[in-house]
């Protein structure tokens, strides 16, 4: 699955996310039940910063620019990491395209 810069993504309703010890723990729901016995995921502070911007109202390109300004890192340096994270989130069904 390729992530397009002009596309919008948002968090799926089929997950529950909870901040625990400065990490965001993500629990996918299957038939309305969170299964901690199967895969659950976590994001660190940088991942949380990107996660908070996935509201469905911003394109991937806008998110990269915001993260670039937030961390004072050139756009091209941060671009791959942001796209890779969004791709991982989409592949796991945690984030969906709008």
């Amino acid at each position: 699955m390729t992530i397009e810069l002009n596309k919008h993504y948002r968090v799926s309703e089929k997950i529950i996310a909870k901040e625990i010890e400065e990490e965001l723990v993500i629990v996918p729901l299957k038939a309305g039940v969170g299964d901690l016995d199967s895969e659950i995921y976590s994001l660190n502070s940088t991942g949380i910063s990107i996660w908070e911007k996935l509201t469905g109202t911003r394109s991937v390109d806008e998110i990269i620019k915001m993260v670039s300004v937030e961390y004072g890192v050139p756009y091209n340096e941060i671009k791959f990491d942001v796209i890779q994270l969004i791709k991982d989130l989409v592949d796991k069904g945690i984030v969906v395209a709008t």
Partner: protein, 179 residues
């Protein structure tokens, strides 16, 4: 604009988490947030305080109380209001404000807890909702709770677990002190 002092962590990629690595407090916080969102949650039990009803490694499902209220005999998941640890034990007594819980293989009750520390009840063990040990059957729960309170269930659990009679029932003749 002055340069931002934060540096992005290059390892922001999604990481898998092993549920067993979560501390009891963190697991409790996670279970509470999922159940309060109106969803069920299932995870592996740790320990044998609820033996034989729930054994170490059993998959237990926690469901929120909606149409029913907690009653004696219910196996519940609650956060200890002092330690914030997640505990799964059976309610043996309760009032409108507090409840007492006890592990099925424990001889002592837990410390009294406020009712609002209950996250939900155990609605299935290893995907089975009907359980021999009375987790859902209201009549079974009543008698089971009685035998639990008087120590019969923990004694049976002890025998099943350790294949011997609990030491409480082995009275030794202690020699009297010579004055």
């Amino acid at each position: 604009m002055p340069p931002n002092t934060q540096t992005p962590d290059k390892n922001s990629q999604l990481k898998s988490v092993d549920c067993l690595s979560l501390s009891s407090i963190n697991l409790g916080a996670l279970v509470k947030s999922v159940v309060e969102a109106g969803q069920g949650i299932q995870f592996r039990a740790k320990g044998n305080s609820m033996f034989p009803t729930i054994k170490d490694g059993d998959l237990i499902k926690v469901t929120q109380y909606t149409e029913i209220s907690p009653t004696a005999g219910d196996v519940v998941a609650y956060l200890d209001h002092n330690t914030k640890n997640l505990i799964v034990h059976r309610i043996v007594d309760l009032t409108s404000d507090i409840f007492f819980a006890k592990g099925d293989s424990c001889f002592r009750k837990d410390r009294p807890q406020p009712i609002n520390t209950i996250i939900g009840y155990i609605s299935a063990i290893n995907h089975r909702e009907n359980n021999l040990w009375g987790i859902n059957h209201r009549v079974c729960k009543k008698y089971y709770t009685f035998f639990l309170k008087i120590g019969i269930i923990p004694s049976i659990a002890y025998i099943l677990k350790f294949k011997r009679i609990p030491i409480l029932f082995l009275q030794k003749n202690t020699p009297k002190k010579i004055m």
